[in-house]
């Protein structure tokens, strides 16, 4: 095995990185892939509750790096998907408990045991972010169509470029097509024009995401959720499939225009 390591980062907090990691993990695992999700937010652990695995934690990522347990012991198996694992963040430590070289070593070890490693980066551009992008083969920048989130995303893209991490791909989260239609929200085209990177997914705003989080069920498990479908599509695109962008609102042709814009049909 030689896993691909994918990090999701955003600059701004609260835009949906953890939700995205949990759902991409579920979606990749349901396609028969072996996936390890890592919570990179030391001190502010959250991926465990979004995945509904908070009661199973014994060891965490810092225990692995500091040699208190073996890698396998810190990999918590998902309740629903036998090939999906979580390595939780340490809750009582801070970002300095890990270094980028620790993450590189951990990444190399994980490459041998799974198909995908998904790293949930903390917000910000400091140590936790640097740790999370260090082992990444590919970085996905996630943003909302909010002015502050887009600005922070641009900053993060600039840092990734200067660190020669390659050009990241964009996940645009929480798009409200009604508001876009009324021109009271930046459209996916606007955000793509501003950030000028490749698009890998557009996720509609969906109240079901909060409900799913309440239950510890990643939204990708919800067959009928549009946000869930959007994450399943991103997983398929990560696997190299050419999946058209969803037609969320057939009346205004917005999604068709995005398809045209990105060369996907």
């Amino acid at each position: 095995m030689s896993a691909q390591i994918v990090t999701i980062t955003s600059g701004k907090g609260g835009v949906g990185k953890t939700t995205a990691i949990a759902s991409l993990g579920i979606a990749l695992a349901s396609r028969g892939q072996k996936v390890v999700c890592i919570d990179g937010d030391i001190g502010l652990r959250n991926l465990d509750v979004i995945m509904g695995l908070e009661n199973r934690i014994v060891y965490d990522i810092v225990d692995v790096v500091e040699g208190r347990c073996r890698l396998r012991q810190a990999m918590i198996r998902d309740k629903r998907m036998p090939e999906l694992f979580l390595i939780p963040a340490a809750q009582t430590r801070d970002k300095t408990a890990l270094s980028p070289s620790d993450m590189l070593r951990l990444g190399d070890e994980l490459r041998e045991v799974c198909d995908w490693v998904l790293i949930d980066s903390p917000a910000g551009i400091e140590r936790g972010f640097k740790n999370s992008i260090a082992p990444a083969d590919r970085v996905l920048v996630l943003t909302n169509p909010e002015i502050s989130a887009v600005r922070d995303a641009d900053r993060v893209i600039g840092i990734l470029e200067s660190e020669e991490k390659g050009s990241p791909s964009l996940i645009l989260n929480r798009v409200n097509s009604e508001m876009v239609k009324r021109q009271e929200m930046l459209s996916p085209e606007d955000v793509l024009d501003l950030l000028a990177i490749d698009l890998i997914g557009v996720v509609p705003e969906d109240q079901g995401v909060l409900v799913a989080a309440n239950r510890g069920m990643p939204i990708a498990l919800e067959e009928n959720s549009k946000a869930g479908q959007a994450f399943r599509n991103i997983a398929a695109r990560l696997m190299g499939e050419d999946i058209p962008f969803m037609d969320l609102d057939s009346s205004d042709g917005l999604w068709k225009r995005i398809s045209k814009l990105t060369g996907r049909s």
Binding site: I147, V150, R151, D154, E184, L194
Partner: protein, 87 residues
């Protein structure tokens, strides 16, 4: 409501957001404030004026975006007299 907005020429908020972001991102990416750009413009005018007569009030210095790369675009009109002398 939107009809009244259009009559009054009030722009939709998405348009404001996009225009504000375009400006802010330009300065974030170059790490240059509008004031610094203005200082650069003054210095450029001074240097160029030592060699050739220009119209200082019509000089335009802007940062243009092309994808993620940016370029400094200077439009510096020369004084009519200079052009006559060249003929």
């Amino acid at each position: 409501m939107s009809f009244i907005n259009r009559l009054g020429g009030k722009r939709k908020s998405a348009q404001s957001a996009k225009e504000r972001l375009q400006l802010v991102l330009t300065h974030d990416r170059t790490d240059m404030t509008p004031a610094e750009l203005e200082a650069l413009k003054d210095e450029l005018i001074e240097v160029i004026s030592r060699h050739i007569e220009i119209e200082p009030d019509s000089v335009q210095i802007d940062i243009a975006r092309e994808g993620r790369s940016q370029r400094l675009v200077a439009d510096i009109p020369l004084k009519a007299k200079t052009r006559q002398r060249n003929r």
